[in-house]
Amino acid sequence: MSRAKSAGDYVKSLKAEKRKESWTRYRESLRYSLHVITHPFDGFWDLIHEHKGTLAAAHTFLFLFLAVRVMKLILTSFQFINAPIQYINILEQAASLALPFLVLCIANWAMTTLFEGKGRFKDIYMAMCYALVPYILIQFPMVIISNWLTFEEGSIFTVMLSVSVIWCAFLVFIGLMEVHDYGPGKTMIFLIVTIVGAMVIIFLVLTFFSLLSDAIGYFVSLYREIIYRLY
């Protein structure tokens, strides 16, 4: 009896330890993003190959990115942004960024696996999410600060925003390079190929949707016709 109890306790304590360990790992991986954005070459390599990053952290960054984006539309001073608040749908705004992001990840994975890319889908997704960190770190404070700026001082705001975007683009480039173990030229080509691939994916999905809706529409109208005849 007591032995069983102690065994149960042992398992429980093991679980707690594991939970604690994964929590520390998650925290470490969050903090590691600061290393990644300042030392992208080593950072991205270790992120994937030394397992310094976690998927949970990647999800967090993607979520924060979307949150900052929505917050930017709502909280920025009206002097610097044209956001018709009465028309903004938060979910729509978030989805309009998250879906292209995922489609691009998928397209990149689909293209690079065919051409000796080392990265798995998980790696690509993780690298892309970590590359969004400067956007979060710069834009969120700028959104708050914008409320203390006048129209003439708006250049600070725009400059900082463009810095964050350029930094992100640079990180995406390096990240993909490290993940796939490509050279810069090949990465560049595959960036373009990725965009084309994303377009193809969108085209296929849209075609599928419209065909499906046509097919269903046929049965719906058939049903309506029959009901109409019967009564």
Partner: protein, 511 residues
């Protein structure tokens, strides 16, 4: 994995079902603002209905002028109006005469029918398209089919005429067809000639031709140029349209001697990207100096329906007139609308429609003003509709006027009244904001500027407000900053002290 795919498929099916089931009888209203008579655009470009700024006070036609009794000849496709003092001149083009109508404060009565010039050769008009009167009451008539602009004194004695310029810059194979004219204070004459695309033809007072003014800039891009230069044959190049500037539609000389010109030939793309400049204010060098301080340039309606509906396409201004304080009103022939703008290029109001009822036009062609009253000439109905400002319209003018005169408090009061009548009017918010900013109420001004979406002025008010706030709270700011500096320092010290104690204890144990 299989589960996920099937879930996705079901989700897609459901989504498609919902689109397929959607009722397809949903349709847009044919015209977004057909139900409202007067409107204005807000910051987002949405139509905001507004009270009527004008109402019809009278319709002048052949019968009310007594033309049917006089000669039995009613007006026949009149083309232009001109107002001088209390006299309204009508170019009754296809009857080859000019009608002079006097307004005595109550009613409009025909005072003179001008169809003969004493001492001119020929002495009669042939399709007079436009008319202008200078300060000495000399009358200028654009005598279209006689290829001249004829000038006579107020007793109709011939003085001089302006004919085709004998100059190498004028293509001598073209007839001189004066369509619209304007005269400045010095007696210089500006002529809009049919089939002339170099701008307005300019004459000195002594009838000498001195060149063109305000030619439309020819615009083409690099791709077009390369395509024409290297990929087209000689014949193709000749057959295709050359990079030619376009003709103007109308002109108006304001009190300060600037020419307001309207232009109706442009591509919709240029109009939307503010390259077409359908309304221009030309200085003596022919440069466009119109002020455009609004989010939307003065192009009339900022969105429109494409082909396939009854009245489609962008606004095309067929005439323009300039009131006091640089407020200008332009007449749209596409939908028979009038657009009023202030000196900053901000839309004051828009109203009017096409149709046969009072206040609507079948084919509006000319616009003039007497004080704040507007006259609109309809060339098919052969009638002139007189619009008088309502209380609301008059208040807008008064608010502008008082602001221009520096009576900011009075202006704010009037804008408050305007706001009470129309709470969707950005200009009222801006007007109140500007006035109370001058009374040093920064926070209040910020509130109004934010409602009006006026960024420059908001920035100005906010700067002052921020300065005041910092000065008031300087003590707290310093305290907070100091705290932010000191607290981490103290914490660091404490941590280090603790660490040293632990190290000391450990070293004791080891020993």
């Amino acid at each position: 994995m299989k589960k996920a795919i099937s879930f996705l498929l079901i989700l897609m099916m459901l989504l498609s079902l919902s689109t397929a089931m959607a009722d397809d009888s949903y349709s847009m209203k044919q015209d977004g603002f057909s139900t409202s008579y007067a409107y204005c655009y807000d910051y987002w470009g949405d139509v905001q209905e507004s009270p009527n700024p004008y109402r019809v006070s009278e319709v002048i036609d052949s019968i009310s002028l007594g033309l049917d009794k006089l000669e039995g000849k009613r007006m026949n496709k009149p083309q232009s109006l001109f107002v001088h003092g209390n006299d309204l001149y009508i170019a009754d083009t296809f009857n080859n005469r000019i009608l002079q109508v006097h307004y005595d404060g109550k009613e409009y009565s025909l005072t003179r029918v001008i169809s003969q010039i004493n001492g001119a050769e020929p002495a009669t008009f042939n399709n007079p398209y436009d008319i202008a009167v200078d300060d000495d009451e000399n009358i200028y008539v654009a005598d279209y089919m006689n290829y001249r602009v004829v000038m006579m004194d107020k007793d109709l004695n011939f003085i001089k005429q302006f004919v085709k310029p004998e100059d190498s810059t004028y293509d001598q194979s073209l007839d001189f067809l004066p369509k619209k004219i304007a005269v400045d204070v010095a007696g210089r004459l500006y002529v809009l000639g049919a089939n002339i695309n170099k701008g307005f033809i300019k004459y000195e007072a002594d009838t000498t031709f001195t060149g063109y003014i305000g030619a439309n800039a020819v615009s083409f891009n690099m791709a077009q140029y390369i395509w024409r230069r290297y990929f087209m044959t000689q014949e193709q190049r000749a057959a295709s349209q050359s990079f030619a500037p376009t003709e103007y539609e109308n002109l108006y000389m304001d009190e300060e001697g600037f020419i307001y010109a309207t232009n109706t030939i442009f591509s919709e793309y240029d109009l939307k990207t503010d390259k077409a400049n359908p309304i221009r204010r030309l200085n003596s060098l022919g440069n466009d100096i119109l002020i455009k301080n609004d989010r939307y340039p003065p192009i009339g309606d900022i969105y429109w329906l494409a082909e396939g509906t009854q009245y489609y396409g962008p606004t095309r201004f067929t005439d323009i007139t300039v009131l006091k304080n640089d407020i200008y009103v332009a007449l749209d022939r596409t939908r028979g609308r009038l657009f009023g703008y202030d000196g900053q290029g901000i839309l004051l109001w828009a109203f009017g429609t096409r149709g046969n009822v009072e206040g609507a036009f079948t084919s509006a062609i000319s616009l003039e003003h007497m004080g704040y009253d507007l006259f609109v000439l309809d060339q098919v109905e052969n009638s002139i509709t007189v619009f008088t400002p309502t209380e609301y319209g008059q208040m807008i003018y008064d608010a502008n006027e008082t602001y221009m005169n520096g009576e900011y408090d009075r202006s704010a009061e009037i804008w408050q009244d305007v706001m009470r009548m129309n709470s969707n009017y950005p200009l009222a918010f801006r007007g109140i904001g500007r006035a109370i900013l001058r009374q040093d109420d920064y926070e209040g001004a910020m509130k109004y500027f934010e409602m009006a979406h006026d960024r420059q002025n908001y920035g100005r008010a906010f700067k002052l407000y921020r300065k005041e706030w910092v000065e008031k709270n300087i003590l707290w700011i310093i305290l907070v900053l100091a705290a932010l500096l000191i607290i981490p320092l103290v914490i660091g010290r404490m941590k280090r002290a603790k660490w040293e104690v632990i190290m000391h204890e450990q070293s004791k144990i080891r020993r």
